[in-house]
């Protein structure tokens, strides 16, 4: 592999991995506090992409304003789904929670299917992001450079919130033991709402970034991306935000590098996340940075 191809792969892998990481954080935080595999999370990402698109087309918003609009709507949507579908089931068996999550996922997919049609729409990439940068032999689109940089900044902010602020401390405490947290005078429902808002905001940005790099949006786009991001979260160790970021990057890089090195495996691209996950879990059943939720519950 010559150097320019290597650099190209690095940029692409970085870009893809950071998008998985953005979405995986939402999964891992919700799993951390509620022990719920939030199957609707990938669809919130899809909603983010759609809202941004229609903000630009129907409301004539500039790109940045449309992103802010999408982030706000998705944060609200995260809180609403929590209030309607998950909050009444806090004390119910976890499987009912999972089924309502699947229900919300079906609902969002089909709602967007009915309203906007099932055919893919071409996402509008603003001109300043379409510019192509040339470094010697390497040519990359502006968006492929900006996306991972902004993602890293967002990840830093998220980690700062989680590890340096009072709310972050409350979130981590909730993930550790939800019953004691209530006794300590923390409003668990408020913290869970914050977790959903934060995760959905990151998912919305992930969805917009995804659409910048692969400019075609459709109502079912969130399903597979969401599941791969969830695999990334489990791979890194579910419940750990650092693990989600690590898992996202591992899966992003693997997809890019394997497809680039041996194109005959490109048909298996979507399965890499799961193959990797299975291999890791066989040797380290709690993921790379995770701890065992099943055992630590008592």
């Amino acid at each position: 592999m010559d150097f320019s191809l290597f650099l190209q792969n690095m940029v692409n892998g970085f870009s893809l991995g950071s998008m998985y990481a953005l979405i995986a954080i939402g999964y891992t935080m919700v799993y951390g506090v509620l022990r719920l595999i939030n199957f609707a999370h990938g669809d919130i990402m899809m909603v983010g992409a759609y809202v941004c698109f229609f903000g630009m087309v129907s409301l004539n918003l500039p790109f940045i304003a449309a992103v802010v609009f999408a982030v706000t709507i998705c944060a609200a949507l995260g809180i609403i789904t929590d209030t309607i579908a998950y909050k009444p089931l806090r004390k119910a068996p976890r499987i009912s929670l999972l089924i309502t999550a699947i229900g919300i996922s079906f609902l969002l997919e089909n709602l967007f299917n009915v309203i906007f049609g099932s055919e893919p729409k071409a996402f509008i990439v603003p001109e300043y992001l379409q510019k192509v940068l040339t470094f010697g032999d390497v040519t990359v689109a502006m968006s492929a450079v900006l996306v991972p940089i902004i993602t890293l900044i967002l990840l830093a902010i998220t980690l700062f919130i989680l590890y340096r602020t009072k709310y972050g401390m409350a979130i981590r405490a909730l993930a550790f033991d939800i019953h004691t947290v209530n006794l300590m005078g923390i409003d668990a429902n408020l913290i869970i709402a914050i977790v959903f808002a934060l995760g959905s905001m990151l998912a919305a940005i992930g969805g917009v970034f995804w659409s910048l790099n692969y400019p075609s949006i459709e109502p079912m786009m969130g399903v597979l991306i969401g599941l791969k991001a969830f695999a990334a979260a489990v791979l890194g160790g579910i419940g750990s935000v650092g693990g989600a970021v690590l898992g996202g990057f591992i899966i992003g890089f693997t997809e890019v590098v394997v497809v680039s090195l041996s194109p005959e495996f490109s048909g298996f691209k979507d399965a890499f996340a799961f193959i990797f996950l299975i291999l890791i879990l066989i040797f380290k059943p709690t993921g790379i940075l995770g701890y065992n939720f099943e055992k630590s519950r008592f």
């Binding site: 089931l89 009912s96 089909n110 489990v234 799961f274 879990l281 059943p285 099943e294």
Partner: protein, 343 residues
């Protein structure tokens, strides 16, 4: 046996009677829906064995159904049909060699192949527990679908297989559904079934009491895989064509919804859940067509059916948390109702 044998015989007679009578009562469309329901009863009841009774949160039935469907289809199609159908790549030698016109033999082979796969997979799968097991099995189910797409010399890739002989009439699907319900109930009420429930309720305690939990889980997994494979074979022979995308997560989620809606671990719950989800989903089809309401005709909105379905699903889960039957069977419910009447 926990329930008196006479109730069993009555239920059996009612089921067989309904099966025979339905051919005289219903039209072709309803028979197709019933056929569909019968296949899903086999899938749901066998999925319930691993997920509801043994408590292992497997998300893999789609993989086993896919294996069963492909094995049955490849056995029943003859060499000419394969040569004619395979567009992407010419069929592999063993695929051409594989042929038998015996439908039941093909179903058996479908079940056996799924069982072998389950036995192999149980080694990596049961190294992990709980939600980790869910994501690992989800991954395997997905990998099986990807394999079906990427080996066109065996499966004809994403185009799938078609003109599979439609042997699976309602007599076959309904009959096999009845047999599999009896089979699963016999397992659940055997010594082995109690071990399964022990693993579900507290795996560590069961292990401490001398239950070989790995053997129990593997047996439950492969038994359920056998029936899912047979169900997949019936699927192929009833719809006459299969494509890999039919065996996506969506199928697993549908089965999960069915068994949770009916009540995890309850066989009558699984049957009722199937009737509600598959039959009800069919009944809601009118929503996808133009609707006249209050003298005004609304345009057809394809997809409205699924919106209504998901809203109903969320509402049912919010208000009936344990599903309709909980962990009980119809006979338990009937018995407690009789007790309450006597009082």
């Amino acid at each position: 046996m926990r329930v008196p044998k006479i109730t069993h015989i009555i239920f059996f007679a009612l089921a067989v009677g309904f099966l025979v009578a339905s051919h005289y009562i219903f039209d072709d469309y309803s028979l197709r829906v019933l056929n569909n329901i019968a296949i899903f009863i086999i899938l749901a009841v066998s999925y319930n064995l691993i997920n509801g009774v043994t408590g292992q949160f497997s998300l893999e039935p789609n993989g086993f159904v896919a294996v069963g469907a492909y094995v049955a289809a490849l056995i029943l199609l003859d060499a000419d049909a394969k040569n004619y159908q395979f567009d992407l790549e010419s069929p592999a030698a063993f695929v051409l060699w594989l042929h038998s016109s015996n439908f039941l033999l093909a179903l058996l082979a479908a079940g056996v192949c799924a069982t072998i796969l389950a036995l192999v997979l149980s080694f990596p799968v049961f190294r992990v527990r709980g939600d980790y097991l869910a994501i690992v099995t989800l991954g395997f189910g997905f990998i099986i679908k990807i394999l079906a797409i990427n080996y066109p010399s065996i499966t004809n890739g994403s185009l799938g297989l078609s003109s599979i002989p439609q042997h699976a009439t309602l007599y076959y699907t309904g009959g096999i559904a009845i047999i599999s319900v009896i089979m699963v109930l016999n397992i659940v009420y055997s010594k082995f079934g109690r071990a399964m429930k022990a693993v579900r309720d507290d795996e560590d305690a069961a292990l401490a009491m001398g239950v070989n939990t790995f053997a129990v889980k593997t047996t439950a997994f492969s038994t359920s895989a056998f029936l899912e494979g047979v169900g997949g074979g019936l699927w192929a022979c009833s719809f006459a064509s299969i494509v890999p995308n039919e065996f996506d997560f969506y199928l697993t989620f549908q089965l999960l919804i069915i068994i949770v809606l009916g009540g995890l671990g309850s066989m009558t719950g699984a049957i009722l859940g199937t009737i509600l989800v598959i039959g009800g989903g069919e009944w809601l089809r009118f929503l996808d067509e133009p609707i006249s309401m209050f003298g005004h005709t609304f345009d057809a909105m394809p997809g409205l059916r699924m919106i209504v379905f998901s809203v109903i699903l969320i509402l049912v889960m919010l208000f009936a948390r344990e599903g309709i039957f909980g962990k009980r069977e119809l006979t338990d419910v009937a018995r407690s109702a009789i007790k309450r009447l006597k009082r």
